[in-house]
């Protein structure tokens, strides 16, 4: 069958829809869930809903020289179940994870098992029906589910991030199927996340993050900001994922309301969380979180020793130092991240319930930055 451009397209010819679904499995094209058979007509409709020509490259992954065109993105978006009008959001999300500073090859392949989180802001939320309320990270909402799933299918099909082959996630987590949600801007006491990240009010954006699995932060017992935030800081300082990397905190509307009631700004909240999310260097050493290899990395050395009485070592310490605990180590604070800007705050979830979430960055190192891109109209 020829395309609108007269090009013969590679594919598999089948008699009926059920065979087509099975063929997607047989070809190794799915994430384990059934995929919508990507027929020519559906792919053409998807492509037509975006501003791109089919050969435009939406994502280039330099470590393995992979260029994902709008056409291939459209095939995967159809398979994921996207409606055509979602395609501009898919393209923006691919551009975001393809930003060179995102260094996609790491989170796409590492044992850390990162999910690609997509946070949606702006009027596109209402226009396309993105969900920002009850069961925020759970099932039930087509735009959230299928756009997040498209990114994973692109990684599987176009970047060959097959589990156990190129995707070496030790365990991974269910967010790797799909992790896309909208901010509940209307329930937020602050400017929308997109505005905090430099975009105009009224612009629609996607913000991406390479995320480890989320941690619930449960509090029904206090409306006082410092008590409430102490719970968040404690969760963020968990040694299992303590790193110099970034954090995403998604406040439930109820928790956000407690902060708003006392006039806490976004910046004050970020600063407070950074200041209080720390463990002692002794704690890190005691639990094997200080690796001798860190000592040859100036940024990690700075992270470990910036609050140490002896100062940051000018030369790499002896490897044995990784396990030798001194009195000064017990007093030296090692914070999560390198500063308040490493903590991204947004708001979402059901109107009822004191359940928020903290997502640590992928990797035991610095990991990759938050990237925000505008959704093209």
């Amino acid at each position: 069958m020829a395309s609108a451009m007269g090009r013969e397209r590679e594919g598999v010819d089948l008699d009926d829809a059920w065979q087509a679904i099975e063929a997607c499995y047989e070809q190794g094209w799915t994430d384990g869930l059934p995929a919508v058979p990507p027929t020519e007509a559906l792919v053409e409709r998807m492509l037509a809903a975006g501003p791109w020509a089919e050969d435009d490259v939406l994502l280039f992954e330099p470590a393995r020289d992979r260029a994902v065109t709008a056409y291939k993105a459209a095939v995967n978006a159809v398979m994921a179940g996207c409606r055509p009008e979602y395609f501009p959001v898919v393209g923006a999300a691919l551009a975001a994870i393809g930003d060179p500073t995102f260094e996609l090859h790491g989170p796409a392949t590492s044992t850390g098992g990162a999910a690609l989180m997509v946070i949606v802001n702006g009027p596109v939320r209402q226009r396309l029906g993105f969900h920002s309320k009850a069961n925020l990270f759970g099932p039930g909402f087509r735009a959230n589910a299928t756009i997040g799933r498209t990114l994973r299918l692109v990684l599987l099909n176009c970047l060959d991030c097959r589990p156990g082959v190129l995707d070496k996630s030790t365990q991974g987590w269910p967010g790797k199927y799909s992790l896309c949600f909208a901010e509940d801007e209307e329930a937020s006491p602050w400017e929308p996340l997109s505005v905090a990240r430099g975009f105009r009010p009224g612009q629609s954006t996607v913000t991406v993050f390479a995320a480890e699995s989320g941690h619930n932060v449960l509090s029904h017992g206090t409306a006082r900001p410092e008590r409430l935030l102490a719970l968040f800081a404690d969760t963020m300082a968990g040694l299992g994922s303590l790193s110099p990397g970034r954090s995403v905190v998604v406040f439930a509307p109820e928790h956000a309301g407690h902060l708003a009631g006392e006039g806490w700004s976004r910046a004050r909240t970020q600063a407070w969380l950074y200041e209080h999310a720390w463990r002692s260097l002794a704690d890190l050493k005691r639990t094997g979180k200080v690796e001798p290899a860190f000592f040859s990395n100036p940024r990690l050395l700075e992270w470990l020793y910036r609050h140490h009485a002896a100062g940051v070592p000018s030369t790499p310490p002896d490897p044995a130092t990784a396990e030798r605990i001194t009195a000064e180590d017990a007093e030296a604070r090692v914070h999560r991240g390198l500063g308040p800007d490493d903590i991204l705050l947004c708001v979402g979830g059901g109107e009822a319930g004191g359940h928020s979430a903290f997502f640590p960055s992928w990797s035991r190192g610095r990991s990759v930055p938050f990237i925000t891109k505008e959704v093209p109209s």
Binding site: E10, D13, D16, C24, Q27, L104
Partner: protein, 95 residues
């Protein structure tokens, strides 16, 4: 009859993507590059590979390059250095 379209890149050739170089016919007399892919134990692994290669082939010399970040490609300068000096390059990740 319905055709479903291939979502993979296996059949796609994109301008700018460089194919793999042909395998060298022999290693005797060649300089071998060791490209450590940015993890802390990669060069340890590669050194052992070089030792085995040295036992089996009369290789000329070994050129070591260590990336600082496993998530990004080798730099132009690093690639250029390997290209100029080496007949073959072995790369590895050792976490």
């Amino acid at each position: 009859m319905t055709r479903i379209l291939d979502p993979t890149l296996r059949t796609v050739r994109v301008a700018g993507v460089v194919p793999l170089a042909p395998r060298p016919p022999r290693l005797a007399g060649a300089s071998i590059g060791l490209l450590a892919n940015g993890k802390s134990n990669a060069m340890t692994l590669l050194d052992r590979v070089a030792q085995i290669l040295g036992e089996r082939h009369a290789i000329e010399e070994v050129v070591r390059v260590a990336k600082t970040n496993a998530s990004v490609p080798v730099t132009e300068e690093e690639a250029e250095a390997l290209l100029k000096r080496c007949g073959a390059v072995v790369t590895a990740i050792g976490d």
